[in-house]
Symmetry: C2
Subunit: 197 residues, 2 copies
DNA sequence: CAGAAAGTTGAATGCATGTTCAAGTTCCTT
DNA sequence: AAGGAACTTGAACATGCATTCAACTTTCTG
């Protein structure tokens, strides 16, 4: 194993450690010492691989957001039938339990004023998720299975907005029934697309 | 003016100062010194009125959340006609510019792991907002102007979820057109209630 | 007006944090 | 095996933070 890949592994291990700490105890509990302990290394080692701790936080948030999107994209591309795909996307978008990653997504919003580099990441994830839905809706509309009653761009945005809120609510202790949430979103999609789901 | 009301005024001034700092520079920039400077007092004074700085933060977040809800409740009670009321609620729920208060609402989510007392406040605001919509929908359904195509409880929840996301997006730099957002929510309501809006 | 109560201050304290670094260890290359 | 590069460590340092407090000023009260 050459040196640069071992370096990359080490960095990944630190990112993973930060994600565990932030996901379990809150992003504000993630600092050089807690992450070092979680990764079973010294504080000095953390800063050997990342010039500043902020860089590690940025890498972790970026990783979380990218994985988050990537998971949804994969689900979308796996299912060909528009109706099935839409159902799969909504199911995946409103998971049964709030993952620690989701927690990082929302808690990291508080970091944005002090770390402007993170802003484009957040924005672009929402935009890409909207595009994912939009493409699906347009395919379905194209083959006639969806008959959109309002602009598809607006429907796609609404679907992402619903998902985002229903994913955030558990963080504030609002334990809505996840099946009901999915049903509510599906019902909206069915109405807006004039199509049974 | 008696002593206890002057004390209350002083506390309110500190709460207001914290809200200004948090709203303009981010909630993580709010600390004893920045708030003291904003209120033109010394750091010692801040802690004369609040036993700990956390208590001040809690008071400010509670104030923001309560005002937030109160504003919406007042709008709802001012308009009798269900269709008009619903329109007014959605208009108020998706303001043209993100207020500094809204910023505090979302950024304070990151504080929850370390300040569990705040969790019930957040939860209860969402719940009460849902109740506000639900009541309006039920009145409209009762008089026949709304003909809900799905359970009103679910429609009310969806409306609040849409609002919450569209209010959060500006914080991550996603500058969607506010008119379009309102239109998208209104279009959903119109579909779900089988009623022109 | 005098004494007490309330309010204010800014320096001092203690703790947590990010970062540096000299010293040591492990790994790789020749 | 030798020497150098990569890595690791933990103590040390600087900074920022909430909090305390003794001294002082203002306001109230009888």
């Amino acid at each position: 194993m050459n040196q640069s890949t071992r370096q990359a592994q080490r960095r990944d291990a630190l990112v993973a450690a930060l994600r565990r700490v932030a996901g379990e105890r809150g992003i504000l509990q993630a600092n050089v010492r807690t992450v070092a302990a979680e990764a079973d290394v010294s504080a000095g080692s953390v800063l050997y691989y990342f010039p500043t701790f902020d860089d590690l936080v940025a890498a972790a948030v970026e990783g979380v957001l990218e994985e988050f999107y990537e998971r949804r994209r994969r689900i979308a591309e796996e299912v060909a039938d528009p109706r099935e795909r839409l159902r799969a996307m909504i199911d995946a978008g409103i998971p049964d339990e709030i993952s620690s990653d989701l927690r990082i997504v929302y808690e990291s919003i508080a970091l944005l004023p002090e770390r402007p580099q993170l802003r484009p990441l957040h924005r672009s994830i929402v935009e890409r998720q909207v595009m994912l839905y939009r493409t699906t809706l347009e395919i379905g509309a194209g083959v006639g299975v969806f008959r959109p009653r309002t602009p598809v761009a607006a429907i796609a945005r609404n679907l992402v907005a619903l998902e985002d809120s229903y994913d955030m609510y558990p963080l504030i202790g609002l334990g809505l029934d996840r099946d009901e949430c999915r049903r509510a979103v599906l019902d909206y999609a069915a109405l807006a697309l004039d199509c049974e789901l």
